[in-house]
Amino acid sequence: MAELEHVVKTFSLLEAAEKEQPFLTREQKQDLYRIAFHKESMEEVEKIILQLQAPHAGKEEKERILSHYLEPFFQVPENILQIENYIFQLQYMTYEKEKANHMLAALLKQENIQYDLEAMLTEGKIKAAVPVKKDRAMG
């Protein structure tokens, strides 16, 4: 029913499409994410992006397109809509963070620095747990 993967793909598609000039407002993007979230086919989402990207499409035209594609989905109360938007935001932050991670990994590779990320993560988890124990001991 809900395709989170489509939302993530939409981030990269929008990023590429908006490279030269942004063409959607924040609210319009949220509507587009919702469409991607509920659409079964990613191809349809790509087509919608192309329609939105058309040079002649003004603000009203874009909103008409978005509401047309949002229409078939059942309407949900505002609070649920808010949760959907939180999920999209979280996914977007994760997407951006992963981009940063790739850049850092590339930099380390370029400097020829060897490391075991999994071991570091495990060690990090242990370290994160230690101060709690200490605090308790001090308390």
């Binding site: 989170l4 059942f74 649920i80 999920i87 979280l90 990320l117 570091m120 993560l121 988890k125």
Partner: protein
């Protein structure tokens, strides 16, 4: 029918046709407000349209102005009434209500609109709960993904900070120190250069003083030397002539040979050689050959001997 209704019906009888009257009568009999009936009458519609509108009003449709002003036919009015009856609002009805559209097309559009509206209706509580539960699961999963990504970012950025940033910082620090050292060096060299320049300047001044002095001295010396050299040259010429006079005493030395001797400014040794040449009996031309270009006394001697030997050979000795 109310009295007001009956009165209005009587009024209408004067202007409306029989079929129109039937529609008005039907509405008034149903108990529709006279004001609504008046609106329908004033719209001056054909009897079937009037009837369709009044039936719609009887069905409880409130959009009387929209129906009266639209200039629709009876079938189109029915489709509009049907849409409003089935829960579409006026804005939705307007999307398919057009004079130019046949009632059949309006009917198709109305049905589609009604169906999509049914789909869009808020789902039942159970469905909503299920969706909410699903959504919360996705939310948790998203939070987890973000945490993991964030942990990776923390680990990688600490590595970059440790191995790349700190290294680069050290490099920058080294370069900065190096730069400072070089700046200091440059400063010292500049100071040295300034000192040297000052020294050069001082030396130049000294040299200038000395040069002036030297020039003055050399001018004086030159004058003295010139005077002396004139005297010496004259004396030398006199001595040479005297020596040559003694050497050539009793010999026939042609004037051209003597002129050459004076011209070449020959030394005493060279003059001795010339004397030997004369004594040996060499001809003027041969003596001139011997002294040509003022050769050394040894060379003169050898040339004299060669000339004499050649003479002997020619004579067949």
């Amino acid at each position: 029918m109310t009295v007001e209704g009956q009165r209005y019906l009587e009024e209408c009888r004067k202007v409306l046709k029989e079929e129109q009257m039937d529609a008005v009568s039907m509405g008034l009999d149903f108990g529709l407000p006279v004001s609504d009936i008046q609106k329908v009458v004033k719209s001056n519609q054909e009897a079937p349209v009037m009837k369709a509108i009044i039936i719609g009003l009887m069905e409880g449709i409130g959009e009387i102005d929209f129906l009266c002003e639209g200039n629709y036919n009876q079938f189109q009015v029915r489709e509009i009434v049907e849409g409003l009856k089935n829960g579409l609002d006026l804005e939705e009805v307007k999307t398919y209500a057009g004079n130019e559209l046949p009632a059949s097309r309006m009917r198709t559009m109305r049905i589609q609109l009604e169906e999509s509206k049914v789909k869009k209706e808020v789902p039942k509580d159970e469905e909503m709960r299920s969706y909410m539960k699903n959504l919360m699961g996705i939310m948790e999963q998203s939070i987890q993904q973000f945490r993991e990504s964030n942990d990776r970012f923390t680990a990688l950025s600490s590595l970059v900070k440790e191995h790349v940033v700190e290294e680069k910082n050290q490099e920058i620090k080294d370069l900065y120190e190096n730069l400072q050292y070089k700046d200091k060096n440059i400063q010292e060299l500049r100071e040295k250069l300034a000192k040297k320049e000052q020294e050069i300047q001082d030396l130049k001044k000294e040299a200038e003083k000395y040069r002036e002095k030297t020039e003055a001295v050399s001018r004086e010396t030159k004058v003295v030397l010139e005077e002396k050299s004139i005297q010496t040259a004259e004396g030398l010429q006199k001595s040479k002539r005297r020596l040559l006079g003694i050497a050539m005493l009793g010999k026939k030395v042609p004037k051209s040979v003597v002129e050459k001797i004076l011209e070449y400014n020959l030394s005493a040794e060279q003059l001795e050689e010339i004397r030997q040449c004369v004594e040996s009996g060499l001809a003027d031309a041969e003596i001139l050959q011997v002294m040509e270009n003022s050769p050394s006394p040894e060379r003169m001697k050898k040339m004299r001997e060669i000339i004499l030997l050649m003479r002997k050979r020619k004579a067949g000795v």
